[in-house]
């Protein structure tokens, strides 16, 4: 509690942000986007409890999200029917508890070892549950899934959840609660020892810990939060299908978390916000959005494995020393060059998408309002020229960035003396 009070500032900002955002961005689209972000934030933070904190690379985290979602869905139907005497606002908790129980079971099965063994078992469990979804139509609803109507009698708030904004506020409350709990969990003995087991399981056994038990509990807690996210998904969409427990959402949460950065608590929050935003907006602009998303993911893994949070935190010393201004010019130049390069790549991708996927590939295509024929060599030449020019300046820019960093390091060192 003392802890919460000391950090009240940050939490107050977070609460204010959650309250104000839908007022600023008040379109239906924006509010449903914000709702999705809230769910994604819980989901990816829960994923980072096992990946970042526990060092377990899971390919099946959506299982707990999905099962939580289905359970909450059935729960809401029972609430609507009056058989389950709890208010709708607590329905995500059904999902959470479901995730927890399944998480204990599968966690114990898969956490004997971390590393490859764990990753493969998680993949296997994911496939297993996804496959059994069609075998258990009573629970998973077959191909059409399970749906509900969230406008039930039993609520504790004055909301009837007929409007998206009401759902948004419910999601925001759960999200804030989950963030606080997950954050505090990193400060508990279990949270610390999960790090210890990740870094050095041998040593952890010699301070008295059963590493498998540590992993299992950590895993189960992560599954609990994942289930809550699933429960919120159920309320938000009022429908859930077996796809939500499959490989695609599992891969999605992995990428969100990784792009955001697994080494810092807030990393997955950034990742969830960014990736959800990209997925919803990019898909409206281009059919190739998954390709761009893949490019982003691969580039992050290759050149910024610490994720966005890692990049941000790398700048902390420079920021504190007031030296950011030394970095910004070279950053700007390198970024501009990278954008030119990306523009070229993008043109190539779009031309090829048009050629192979469009119904009338002979029709002219349009890119940034410029209309041209995909078959004409001009587009290709311009694209390749852009890539070449961008690449040339990017390489120069990269050196400049390196040099300005060296200056900054030097300045910090001498400033320290």
């Amino acid at each position: 509690m003392k802890y919460l009070i000391r950090h009240l500032g940050i939490w107050a900002v977070a609460i204010a942000l959650c309250a104000i955002l839908p007022v600023i961005f008040s379109s239906d689209y924006a509010i449903s986007l914000l709702s999705q972000m809230g769910i994604a934030i819980i989901f990816s933070l829960s994923y980072n409890m096992i990946l970042g904190q526990g060092g377990m690379l899971s390919f099946g985290h959506a299982v707990y999200f999905g099962i939580g979602g289905f359970l909450a869905m059935h729960g809401i139907n029972l609430i609507a029917g009056g058989t389950l005497p709890i208010p709708l606002e607590l329905a995500p908790l059904i999902g959470g508890l479901g995730g927890l129980i399944v998480g204990i079971l599968f966690g114990w099965l898969s956490t004997e070892r971390s590393g490859t063994t764990f990753a493969l078992i998680s993949l296997g469990i994911g496939e297993l549950i996804a496959a059994s979804a069609l075998l258990l139509p009573g629970f998973f609803g077959g191909e059409e899934g399970v749906s509900t109507d969230r406008m039930v009698e039993n609520t504790i708030t004055p909301f009837d959840f007929g409007q998206q904004i009401e759902v948004y506020y419910l999601i925001a409350c759960w999200m804030l609660l989950c963030i606080v709990l997950m954050y505090l969990q990193t400060k508990t003995p279990l949270g610390r020892v999960a790090n210890a087991v990740r870094d050095n399981p041998e040593r952890a056994a010699f301070i008295g810990y059963n590493t498998r038990m540590v992993r299992t509990i950590q895993f189960a807690l992560a599954s609990f939060f994942s289930g809550i996210a699933g429960g919120l998904f159920a309320i938000n969409y009022e429908i859930i299908t077996a796809e939500m427990i499959g490989a695609i959402p599992s891969a999605n949460v992995l990428m969100m978390t990784y792009i955001g950065g697994i080494g810092h608590f807030f990393g997955p929050i950034i990742g969830a916000v960014l990736v959800t935003f990209m997925q919803l907006t990019l898909s409206g602009f281009t059919h190739a959005w998954q390709l761009y998303f893949g490019l982003l993911f691969v580039s992050m893994i290759l050149w910024a494995p610490t994720g966005l949070a890692g990049i941000i935190m790398n700048h902390e010393p420079a920021w504190k020393a007031g030296l950011m201004k030394k970095l910004i010019p070279s950053y700007t130049r390198a970024t501009l060059a990278a954008l030119v390069m990306f523009l070229g790549i993008m043109t190539l991708i779009e031309i090829n998408y048009h050629l192979s996927l469009s119904i009338h590939p002979k029709d002219p295509m349009s890119l940034f309002g410029i209309s041209f024929k995909a078959q004409s060599p001009a587009g290709w030449i311009i694209a390749i020229a852009l890539i070449a020019v961008g690449f040339f300046f990017f390489k120069r820019g990269k050196n400049e960035v390196k040099n300005s960093w060296m200056d900054v390091h030097q300045a910090i060192k001498t400033g320290g003396k």
Binding site: K2, Y3, L184, Q185, K187, T188, P189, L190, G191, R192, V193, N195, A196, D199, N200, E202, R203, A204, A205, F206, I207, G208, Y209, N210, T211, M213, V214, I217, L221
Partner: protein
């Protein structure tokens, strides 16, 4: 005879067809500091790995304070009061020095798998950690990531983690390997200090350390203990000299 902290009887260990430990017997008396010496490849580290449950024995029994601990899981052996360091430095490199020690305390102070305490709020846990830091003389380094410490400091930290759990029996595997003379001296002093009123079993190559620290010495050759005695007796033992020490060393 005084009570035994460790009692190994006819312990054997094979890796495939090669036999590393051949029917080894060893007694470690409660409260003594015993050193194990022996030529390279004699099986000293293997022996440590067997006692600490890191390897499963191929035969024989290991008792600690009268309880059979043969082939128990490592964490169970640790919980029943045995702690060890490793030949290769084995710390939590990404955590701070303070966190390393505090992690070493969590289980023994009863926090186990708790996810309802906040470590920073538990005063006696943090005080105990500070106290151990003080003892291993690393208070200055408190907030540094352990991976950035100098080698000798990492070894000292490992000793700190090893003793944090308040184990009665402590196994140290070459605690001064790779240290300079002055570092070694400080390490020996530290080990002597932290193993006060505990049982210590140490593997060490540096003979000055061994003779300085040990109450008794066991000589391990080809997977068998060929002698266990007081340091001066070991020094004079003909068999030991032939097998291992060589005349010029002494």
């Amino acid at each position: 005879m005084s009570a035994l902290a460790l009692k190994l009887r006819n312990v054997r260990k094979n890796f495939g067809s090669s036999s590393i430990i051949n029917g080894l017997n060893l007694d470690v008396i409660k409260g003594e500091r015993q050193a194990i010496i022996g030529p390279n490849g004699a099986g000293k580290s293997t022996l440590f790995n067997l006692i600490s449950g890191f390897y499963q024995v191929s035969g024989g029994t290991i008792e600690m304070n009268g309880h059979n601990i043969t082939n128990l899981a490592t964490f169970r052996i640790n919980r029943s009061g045995l702690s060890r360091s490793f030949q290769v430095t084995n710390i939590f490199p990404q955590m701070t020095v303070f966190e390393n020690i505090r992690c070493g305390l969590l289980w023994s102070m009863g926090y186990k798998y708790s996810f309802w305490h906040l470590c920073n709020q538990v005063r006696h846990l943090n005080e105990k950690a500070e106290e151990i830091l003080e003892r291993i003389r690393m208070t200055q380094r408190r907030d540094l990531p352990a991976g950035l410490l100098a080698y000798a400091e990492q070894r000292a930290l490992e000793i700190g983690i090893t003793i944090a759990g308040d184990a009665e029996v402590i196994l140290l595997d070459e605690p001064t390997a790779g240290m300079s003379m002055s570092e070694t001296e400080r390490a020996v002093e530290l080990i002597r200090d932290v193993t006060e009123n505990k049982t210590l079993l140490v593997v060490e190559h540096d003979m000055s350390v061994v003779f300085d620290l040990a109450d008794r010495i066991s000589v391990l050759v080809y997977g068998e203990i060929i002698a266990t005695d007081l340091p001066e007796k070991i020094r004079q033992n003909q068999e030991v000299q032939e097998a291992y020490l060589g005349k010029e060393t002494l």
